[in-house]
Amino acid sequence: MSLPPDEHPPGLVLDARLHLLDRQVLDVDGVPVCTVDDLEVHGVDGSDLPDGSQTAVVTSLLSGAVLATRVFGGRPPSSRLHRIRWTHVADVGTTVALGVHGDSLDVTWTERWIRDRVIGRLPGGRHDPG
């Protein structure tokens, strides 16, 4: 039972789980930002729950709380999602490269919080090791 091959789409083909989900996201300087925990999809007319009757595209990478729901089930409310707009994605390979600085993004707030409140205040925390 061999199935007919799919017509050959011209663009780069990515299987979401195989090539995008759970990959490391790096910022424009190569600094790790987060992992791709999920992807947000919209219909081209902006609808939030598209079906096959219209073209649907990935609009954002998601990270943060959505990871817990992928492990334990359930779904965070849309207002709690931390998004990186697809506009910021510069390249997709074994990692996802962004064209912006990680510090300017919403998803890195915990990193900044811990840096400003804890690690940056300890002596030597802002110096190169060695």
Binding site: L12, V13, A16, R17, L18, L21, P50, L62, W86
Partner: protein, 123 residues
């Protein structure tokens, strides 16, 4: 929606018959231009009749080694097929239904990984 709504969801045919589970979502970078890249367009769903978990890609890529492992994982996912997004009638979180006259395609990724220089920056 988020992809987590669809991944692992049970898939039913037009007559409500169970067909399997969504193991992956195939995207093609040919949507409208969004920043430096085209937006990934939902091209289709990969449906496995047997198990909800994607298994490491062996069922879809040209990777054949280590042979025993590859063969076992492919065997676990025998019968996996691709349906086009246009054949999806309805999506609710945790459920996918296909429309009348949907067609099954081979799940193989076009082009073996070795023929994809775009993903070869490492070498």
């Amino acid at each position: 929606m988020i992809l987590g709504d669809v991944l692992d969801a049970p898939v039913r045919g037009p007559a409500d018959e169970p067909l399997g589970y969504v193991v992956d979502v195939r995207l093609v970078l040919d949507g409208p231009l969004d920043g430096t890249l085209a937006a990934p367009r939902l091209h289709g769903l990969l449906v496995s009749p047997r198990t909800g978990t994607s298994f490491l890609g062996y069922e879809r890529t040209g990777v054949r080694s280590p042979a025993l492992l590859a063969r076992w994982l492919r065997w676990r996912h025998r019968g996996t097929f691709l349906v086009n997004w246009s054949d999806v009638e309805a999506v609710a979180p945790g459920a996918v239904r296909l429309r009348e006259g949907y067609r099954r395609y081979s799940p193989d990724l076009p082009g073996r990984p070795s023929q994809r220089p775009d993903l070869h920056r490492a070498t």
